[in-house]
Amino acid sequence: MKKMRKLLAVVLAGAMAASMSACGGTGTASSSAANSTAGSSAAASTEGSSAATSTTGTNAKNFKIRMVTDTGGVNDQSFNQSSWEGLQNLKKSIGADVNYVESKQESDYATNLDKAADDDAKLIWGIGFAMAESIGKAAKANPDIAYAIVDNGYDAKTMPKNVTGVMFRAQEPSFVVGYIAGKTTKTGKVGFVGGIKSNIIDQFEYGYKAGVDYAAKELKKKITVDAQYAESFSDAAKGKAIANSMFSSGCDIVFHAAGGVGVGVIQAAKDAGKYAIGVDRDQAYLAPKNVLTSALKLVHAAVEDVSKKAIAGKSIGGQTFTYGLTEDAVGIPTEHKLMGDATYNAALKVEEQIKSGKIVPPANKDDYAKFGK
Amino acid sequence: MEVSNEYAVQMHGITKTFGTFCALNQVDLDVKRGTIHSLLGENGAGKSTLMNVLYGLYQADEGEIYLNGEKVDITNPNVAIEHGIGMVHQHFMLVDNFTVTQNIILGNETTSHMGVLDMKKARENVKKLVEKYGLEVDPDAKIEDISVGMQQRVEILKALYRGADLLILDEPTAVLTPQEIEDLIGIMHNLIADGKTIIIITHKLKEIKESSDTCTIIRRGQYVDTVKVADVDEEELASKMVGRQVQLVVEKTPAKPGETIFEVDHLNVKDDRGLPAVNDLSLKVHAGEIVGIAGIDGNGQEELIEAITNLSKTESGTIKIRGTEIQNTSPRNVVNHKIATIHEDRQKRGLVLDFTVAENTVLEKYRTAPYSKGGMLNRAEIGKFANQLIKDYDVRPEDCANHPARGLSGGNQQKIIIGREVANEPDLLIAMQPTRGLDVGAIEYVHKTLIRERDQGCAILLISLELDEVMSVADTIDVIYKGQIVDSFKQGEVDEKTIGLLMAGGKQNGKDS
């Protein structure tokens, strides 16, 4: 019986692959060529595909992309919003048919994904690892639709053939901002506020710690990192309380990877006249004099890139794409008046070293332990 | 009637409907200037509605109003006040923690330039008014510290202060003691002497006889008659009001008291504020006897009832029914001991107004068979019982069993309560102000029922603020003052004056409590 089902899945996957390539048609040849040659850089690939718009125009317009937000909603100032921006860019640049469905409760994920499927979407995005299970089920129920999920990778062996994972090497920008924090701190003590502990947040924490250590080594001094968790991604008051205690215990820079909690962290920095480091997007607008820099995680760039690949008819299913500095999907903002040119330039050099593979920032505790040695 | 400036007020052909209900139908009222004119009618006859039309609180659907011979259009109370009309409502509208003067000038403040309150001048003006009409009241006392009678004077002063020439008094004596009523009538005569005109809304015949020059009677929204008070007697007024012959005198045979059913011994109860309200009170009620407690409101009657019915705790002393102590148990225990109570506040304590009449008839015995079985109500039995009660007590309308009790008139609501309590076959029936707010016809009915129950051997404790009622219904009259029974008489032993004096705290010669 079980074997039967597996067989069926393989057959279906095969059929899907066939239908997809058929969909891509002949016209996409040039665009996929453009993509593959420019593949090393997401920015370059954007130009590439807009150049290719003329050839894939009709296809792109027929290509329905639906996005299902997590419970944060589409205006969450975080990855939902960023993802939707990415899709809107797609609409603007190549005229793809994009739309979203908002989830209010976790129980909405399944029904919203189902609704998106009813809309005859060709590609359905799920935002956030909380949706991993629902996406997996939906993908199984609709083998002819492509699914993609932000911030989640599946085990390559068990991964459904029509699901694409999108991950970020968040440890890379975290390493860079950690380095900047290490270079900037005067007290020799910096802080980290996480949301709820998970693999994703580990990337931020250990990347950051390693960056701080790297700077400490360079400066030949000891810098300690105080890491705490808010057990929430939304409780700004708690973020403020944690950051306040960090500042009063001697920290002068606090980095957060905690969604809405971070708003409180930044507020605390503003009140205390200390520095905070933003996350995901350039959060300087929240406190221009206190947000030292931000660990950018440009979800929209990744969403755009993967969507384009799908439109172009490339096989994206069954794999996990990882985005980092190399793909220009993470980084730090260019604005750097608070840290000064010297630190900024040093940070850029660190970025180069990461790109070239000379530095491999750790993404979890084990790697971090090895990194120290 | 001709429109003439001899009349302070002429209301002609006033019609007012609420929904389908016609509250007033072509009612006329002509009040001569400088007279006291009473407006007589049963509850719900439309007296207050008519006055509210005059005061601008309601707009008449039809009809004209003339003041001093001139047609006016009174669209709201401010217009009425401008025309020199003042109204003292049954429920006072005073600010409790303001002084008398502050209350009087409220909304009509005397200000010096710059809008600063000129309290001094205001106080002087108030004092002048007080002296002119003999409305003795301390202008600096706070409302919460003065008696109800005084508060009423403040209301009258308030109206006069605003230049009222025509005063409307809505049931002014309902809350007053006999002495206060006398004083009020005196004040009314002073006002007339000064050229004011007074309309008094009432259903008390005795007071009309004592105070008024003319009387207009309305019944069920219809104009009945206008009579010179001197020309008619009380019986005649009553029949015009009710529409049939009524007996004003309670007819009964002498009581044949049996064993002691109910006994209160050295009872002490504190009020909400923790002050002693019932003070070492003792009383007894025998089977087949009506014991009436006479007293002015606020002398511990309420606290006594609350203690007996176990709504509140006692400090010390005992309450016994057939020898069993029941103090400080629960209201249900009281009901279980066959004590039935007709509470003075029938809308608050007596009925669940939004329950149907049928549901209300089983408020105590819904738990017992045949009205409920196995945890479920037997609606058929309840309905049967209710309809019997409606028939026995002549509750109107007769098809009201499945309608909310709210829709019934006060008298019919009271009939439901009395019927229900009597049906519980009590050993002791407590009737607190059982005729409050009822009209003559209903009062007659309530009194007859109480006496019938007495004759069947029930012990009855009647608590009333109406001295007349206690004097005429009770077999034994206990006078309560400051939480104590200060004296006790058999019916016919004493006159109203003696008891009135005792109620006010005076001592009777020779007898020392």
Partner: protein, 375 residues
């Protein structure tokens, strides 16, 4: 004219008028915002009715709010304002989740156990409110609001505790499959089930693509039970007497305070039942970190309000509300109008229901005009 007035006096008429007004205002808002109201409502209705599975989803969505509405309506009949249904729901969900995760008995034991756990927790939460009111006279709204927040943080505490937190998620471990209350959860994904359903598309859709479960049947049963309790039982007589006039009830010997506690226990149990059925009957079968109230209880307030606190009315109002919540997403998905539009519509309906006191008055005025014309 007289007939119109008579119809207008019926409560259901006012409710329907309120609903129509809600749609009208929403249409205006849509038009002002530059969307075609016709296509928006088209999207709404097709999002509710166009496929059997949508109807199924509406029913699923309606289940918890019908029960919380019942909780609110029941308490309201006893004169209590159960704004705490939200908190009672949350603790019910926590308890159901914990018990369903820790215990793994056969379904015949497991399902009642998990549901009972949710009800007991909700009852406890409501009971605290009742007790505080009965013993100390503290107003139930005050304590309920406090307890809502306590439940909120308590839930997050449990979700994030080492014992229950599922790593790499924002949620707790789900309950065991033995507590699932979906319709034939195992059979429908089995080959036999697939084969049996392969002929009927709608059945397959409803069964496989929605979490069709027994919850709504239980909600209907609960509504009937509450109606029986209130209007046919001796206890209900007491409860309504307390609700309509606790002074008279007290005077007649009905223990008011005891009945307040009982009421809050039952109301809490209903909210807890709503939560337990959501955990056992719908994905993801677990609680997760709350960043804001999920409004299962607060929506219950609105539903109870629309239903005029009638237990049976809660069923229909719950379906209406569930339809608006679920179908509302289609407005946004199909024509791009923000989901706030649907919130405005719901808010307007509730607002107009609050104004329904006006409708009978209007009826009176109509009658009067009729009489005047007759003269």
């Amino acid at each position: 004219m007289e007939k119109t007035a008579k119809i207008l006096k019926k409560p259901i008429t006012s409710t329907i008028i309120a609903i129509v007004c809600g749609f009208a205002v929403a249409a205006i808002v849509l038009a002002v915002a530059g969307y075609n109201p016709g296509s928006a409502f088209g999207a709404l209705f097709s999002g509710i009715f166009s496929r059997p599975k949508y109807i199924s989803n509406v029913i699923i969505k309606a289940t918890p709010i019908t029960l919380t509405a019942l909780s609110v309506a029941f308490a309201y009949k006893v004169g209590l304002f159960n704004i705490g249904a939200e908190g009672q729901y949350i603790v019910g969900a926590v308890a159901a989740n914990i018990v369903g995760y820790l215990c793994n008995f056969p379904p015949v034991i497991e399902i009642p156990l998990v549901i009972l756990a949710g009800m007991v927790a909700g009852a406890l939460w409501g009971g605290i409110v009742g007790l505080l009111k009965a013993k100390f006279g503290i107003h139930e709204v005050l304590t309920s609001i406090m307890l809502n927040w306590i439940a909120f943080y308590f839930s997050n505490l449990v979700v994030n505790s080492a014992a229950f937190h599922q790593p790499n998620s924002t949620a707790a471990y789900p309950v065991n499959a033995s507590s699932y209350t979906m319709l034939l959860p195992n059979w429908k994904t089995s080959d036999a089930g697939m084969a049996a359903m392969s002929g009927t598309k709608w059945l397959r859709e409803v069964m496989l693509k929605t979490d069709v479960n027994f919850g709504f049947l239980i909600a209907i049963a609960a509504a009937v039970f509450i109606w029986m309790l209130l209007y046919r039982s001796r206890k209900g007589y007491e409860l309504r007497a307390v609700g309509l006039n606790h002074d008279a009830a007290e005077f007649a010997g009905i223990p008011v305070n005891k009945n307040i506690v009982i009421t809050m226990l039952i109301a809490g149990a209903l909210a807890g039942l709503a939560a337990a059925l959501a955990i056992t009957g719908t994905n993801p079968h677990r609680i997760s970190t709350l960043s804001a109230f999920e409004n299962n209880g607060f929506n219950g307030l609105s539903v109870a309000f629309i239903a005029g606190s009638s237990p049976i009315g809660c069923i229909f109002a719950g379906l209406l509300f569930g339809g608006l919540l679920y179908g509302g997403q289609s407005i946004q998905a199909n024509i791009g109008a923000p989901s706030e539009i649907i919130n405005i519509m719901i808010g307007t309906i509730v607002f107009f229901v609050a104004l329904t006191a006006v409708v009978p008055k209007l009826a009176v005025r109509l009658e009067k005009r009729g009489m005047r014309n007759a003269k």
